[in-house]
């Protein structure tokens, strides 16, 4: 016990005192905020082209003045008589394109062409397409004798609202989309945590081997204690960073919200009817105790199990480049967990397949996290967690064996067969 503590303390303190760690802890939330902020900004505002676009328009079978079509930054001009002159104008940049609708029957726009099309982006083409089709549709309706007022009368809005019976037996709002989003967000965090900090454990074991420290270490402490100390020490590092990030993000978000709200932009009334409002309302109906319980248990459990495997890989290989061969099979179950989560959990979150894969310790951290918002029975959560912890302890024991023999083997790259031999040998 004492040596686990000594190892844990060392692994924790050397990392937390590291300058890169401190800088990253403070910088990461800012970088992530900048990254997403930038991405959202460029996606919505920055990339849009605000320049005026002149498009020549000719549709012999559609009685329409070209300027009636104009919208946003697009101005439609009647086509010129001389084709070569039009092409000249497009080439000179005076006009952006020439839209020619040759179809007799406007219900199928098969002979509709846009010359100069390559100067339009995919979004612009989509926009044009939708616009023209809508206008043609309106025109056809009018032709069929349906007035605009009739059209308004037959418009359908809203949609199916999903409700569920909550723990108290009363009917409450349920939001399947929100639940899936929360589940996947948790699974993503677990996945990232496993890889970032699991590989830290791996590098720690590898460092001792490549720097030839390991023999002294193994003569001073049981490999099992060493492994456990390393895994727990790095877990604490991860948690420290994790909570620091949450704390900093809240500060940052709070600051941003304050900055925006003091700008005097009250939420417009119509926004309250938007789906986002429903989204937030659905939040209150989430089974929070379940979600938090599952997240904490499987966040830690998943990390513990996988980092014990990573530690063994670190002990087995001689250099970073040999890691790849072992990394792939180890990360496969997690990726598989996501596939299962996507295909099965979406269709029936409490179905048999979902149940099975949330019991298997190698996939349970991901699958259980995705299932968590969908009322998983407590007995299942506990059973799965116990299974996960038992597997973890077994893996630490196994990894310690590989570590003990693996650390003394230098030279040739180990194979899976070697690993098995080491396990039996020690």
């Amino acid at each position: 016990m004492r040596s686990i503590w000594v190892v844990l303390k060392k692994e924790y303190l050397t990392r937390v005192k590291n300058r890169t760690f401190i800088v990253m802890t403070f910088l990461a939330p800012v970088l992530i905020a900048l990254f997403y902020g930038g991405a959202i900004y460029f996606a919505t505002v920055g990339a849009e082209d605000h320049s005026q676009k002149n498009v020549y328009f000719n549709a012999p079978h559609w009685e329409l003045e070209s300027d009636e079509l104009s919208f946003e930054t697009y101005t439609f001009l009647p086509a010129l008589n001389s084709t070569s002159e039009m092409l000249q104008q497009i080439e000179n940049g005076k006009a952006s394109g020439w839209l020619q609708i040759n179809d007799k029957d406007l219900r199928s726009l098969d002979s509709t062409e846009l010359v100069g099309g390559s100067t339009f982006s995919v979004t612009e083409l989509q926009k044009l397409n939708t616009h023209i089709k809508t206008r043609v549709h309106e025109y056809l309706l009018k032709q069929a004798g349906i007035s605009e007022s009739t059209l308004r009368l037959t418009e359908v809005s809203g949609g199916i609202k999903s409700l569920e019976i909550d723990q108290t037996g009363s009917i409450a709002n349920s939001n399947t989309n929100l639940k899936s989003a929360v589940g996947f967000a948790m699974a993503m965090i677990i996945y990232m945590f496993i890889f970032i900090y699991g590989s830290m454990v791996m590098r720690s074991a590898m460092e001792e081997k490549t720097n030839r420290i390991v023999e002294v270490i193994v003569s001073s402490v049981r490999p099992f204690d060493l492994m456990l100390g390393k895994i727990l020490g790095v877990a604490l590092v991860g948690l420290t960073q994790f909570f620091a990030w949450i704390f900093l993000s809240i500060l940052l978000l709070g600051g941003l919200t304050f900055a925006f709200s003091s700008g005097g932009n009250p939420v417009p009334a119509e926004a309250q009817n938007m789906p986002i409002h429903e989204f937030i309302e659905g939040f209150n109906t989430l089974p929070f105790t379940n979600i938090i319980l599952v997240f904490v248990l499987f966040f830690l459990g998943g990390y513990l199990l996988y980092s014990s495997i990573f530690a063994a890989i670190g002990a087995a290989v001689n250099q970073e480049t040999d890691v790849q061969q072992f990394m792939l099979p180890v990360s496969l179950p997690l990726v598989f967990g996501f596939i299962i989560a996507q295909s099965v959990v979406f269709q029936s979150p409490n179905g048999q397949l979902a149940q099975i894969f949330s019991m298997i310790p190698f996939t349970s951290p991901i699958v259980m996290a995705v299932r968590a918002p969908f009322d998983v029975p407590l007995s299942e959560i506990i059973a799965s967690f116990v299974l996960l912890m038992v597997t973890f302890l077994f893996m630490v024991w196994l990894s310690a064996k590989i570590y003990r023999v693996g650390v003394l083997m230098y030279g040739k790259k180990p194979s899976w067969k070697d690993l098995w031999r080491w396990v039996r040998q020690s």
């Binding site: 004492r2 040596s3 000594v6 190892v7 060392k10 050397t14 590291n18 460092e207 720097n211 030839r212 420290i213 023999e215 002294v216 270490i217 193994v218 003569s219 001073s220 402490v221 049981r222 003990r404 003394l408 230098y410 020690s426």
Partner: protein
């Protein structure tokens, strides 16, 4: 103090230690000799609890060796290294704590040794900032910091520069005087004759010899005598020059045959009236080592 009885260790099907028996007495320096690949490191690893024997028994102070004995043992492997990113003092404290010292005791010991070797000003330096020679000093300190009763040093002089090698030698003698039992492996015979009370030679996994240096040399007496004369003499034909003879006519090394006695040789030498010295020649450890290792 330490008793190794009938220890076997296999790697795959290869027997690396074959029926090894050794006994170390309290407070002695014991040399473990053998060519590369003889199985010295494998044996030392078992004594340092890094691995365990496949068969046989190792007793420390009469008890089977386990992790419980870690605080009593200091081990410096041949493959050695330190954490590059850690400071000297953090590193030493970590090793001391792993060996069972309390934090406060560890601090006292670290300070003592850094002062002792006059390197207290390195305390906060990271290992990667230190030269190789400096790192070697730290390595040795980390091995003896917890004042082990039993010290195992695998090739302690290899990889050390001459200054540090001398420092290690002095420290070994000092630790022995303080009562530490020391086992070290080497292939430098001068170190063996200078430091060891007793020794063992291992070859291809077998122990081929052990005992005190004088015992071993006595037992390998090959009927050879060294003689020196004031002036050149001519050796009678019935006496044979020994293989190590210098070929000078003033000093001779002679091997006696079975029916010659030392008295026969002495009588002749005395008769020349030039004799300055006469003595039995005991083979050096180097010669014994070579003969043991090449004969097998």
């Amino acid at each position: 103090m330490l008793k190794v009885s009938h220890v076997y260790k296999y790697f795959d099907d290869q027997c690396v230690n074959n029926d090894i028996c050794l006994e170390l007495r309290e407070g002695e320096i014991f040399g473990l000799l053998g060519p590369n690949g003889a199985g010295k490191t494998t044996l030392m690893r078992m004594l340092a609890t890094v691995t365990s024997p496949d068969r046989g028994e190792i007793l420390l102070n009469g008890e089977p060796l386990t992790y419980k004995h870690v605080p009593l043992i200091g081990y410096m492997p041949e493959e050695r290294g330190l954490y590059r990113k850690m400071s000297v003092v953090d590193q030493l404290l970590y090793f001391a704590e792993l060996k069972g010292l309390s934090r406060s005791m560890a601090k006292i010991h670290v300070k003592k040794w850094l002062q002792r070797l006059d390197i207290i000003h390195w305390a906060d330096k990271k290992m990667e900032e230190l030269s190789k020679g400096m790192a070697q000093k730290i390595q040795f300190i980390s091995t003896i910091l917890h004042e082990p009763k039993f010290l195992i040093l695998d090739e302690p002089f290899s990889g050390f520069d001459p200054v540090n090698a001398d420092m290690v030698k002095d420290l070994i003698i000092e630790l022995k005087n303080a009562g530490t039992t020391i086992l070290f492996s080497t292939h430098r015979m001068d170190n063996v004759e200078e430091l060891c009370h007793r020794l063992a030679i291992i070859h291809e996994g077998h122990k081929v010899l052990d005992g005190s240096i004088s015992e071993v040399r006595q037992s390998h007496f090959r009927n050879e005598y060294d003689l020196s004369f004031a002036e050149a003499v001519v050796l009678p034909a019935h006496f044979n020059r020994a293989p190590g003879d210098s070929n000078s006519s003033n000093s001779l090394r002679v091997t006696l045959t079975e029916n010659q006695t030392d008295k026969d040789l002495l009588d002749w030498a005395y008769g020349t009236q030039q004799l300055k010295s006469f003595g039995a020649y005991l083979p050096t450890m180097h010669e014994i080592f070579i003969s043991k290792v090449s004969k097998q």
